[in-house]
């Protein structure tokens, strides 16, 4: 599961990284956001969405995306 700060919510970590990259000579970087990766094995992938909504992400402040795996989205 990839969990990101919701669009439109101030993401100070993303801003800090965005400012640090040019200092190292990397130009042309924008829209940096720092999120979270949760990896897991699960027997029933149908549970993943509910897991995200109930625990792994807070839908008020975060968006989530379920990726990869056998039979995953």
């Amino acid at each position: 599961m990839l969990i990101r700060p919701k669009a439109g919510i101030l993401d100070p970590q993303g801003i800090a990284v965005e400012r640090a990259l040019p200092a190292l000579g990397f130009e042309g970087v924008s829209n940096v956001h720092v999120g979270r990766l949760v990896e897991l094995d699960v027997d029933d992938a149908g549970q993943l969405d509910e897991m995200c909504r109930k625990l792994l992400a807070n839908p008020l402040i975060e968006d989530y995306e379920i990726v990869g795996g056998d039979g995953g989205a």
Binding site: I9, L10, P12, Q13, A16, L55, L60, I61
Partner: protein, 221 residues
Amino acid sequence: MKFGVVRFPGSCDDVDAQLAASRVGEAVLLWHADHDLQGVDAVIVPGGFSYGDYLRVGAIARFAPVMEEVVAFAREGGPVLGICNGFQVLCEAGLLPGALLPNVHLRFRCRQVAVEVLNADTTFTRACVVGERLSIPCKHTTGRYYAPDDELDRLEAAGQVVLRYAPGENPNGSVRDIAGVSNDAGNVMGLMPHPEHAVDELVGGSADGLKLFASAAVVHA
């Protein structure tokens, strides 16, 4: 008046909260793994780093066995105060609106802040007057209050924004300078500053924090 202070693994302000509450009543500790509120009249969810703040602040503590009892107690109108990490836990548990995000400057802030009382009709602010300033310490890295704009309008109109940082005092970038909110019934409140650390002029910078504990005792009496 009997207060119960929840102790999670990682709580660190539980004993201060117990000592503060014991100035206005009896105060016991409630163990996170017990389905037992020990017959208390009010619950305090204290500051700290419950469950190591893993995943997201307050996210795991919300599922502690004792929280099932706290949620049921709050829904029946029982007084519940969440301080700092406790505020985060109550938001995650759905007892309070909004969420707490990392401070806008990403720094840990530990200092005395002035907060203004906007609503003196809630369970934990009845000993205050509207417009009164309280001097209370804050100490946190994840204290930036957030709720969507339409929700903020609704909260302000309903008087649920109970405490606001005084002009120039916002330590974390909270939207609309919000320091503390309540549920719509006013029996559940959360705030980022630490009233339990401001109950003695000698070591707390002020004794203003005591008013929140005294408010609950007044209601109970």
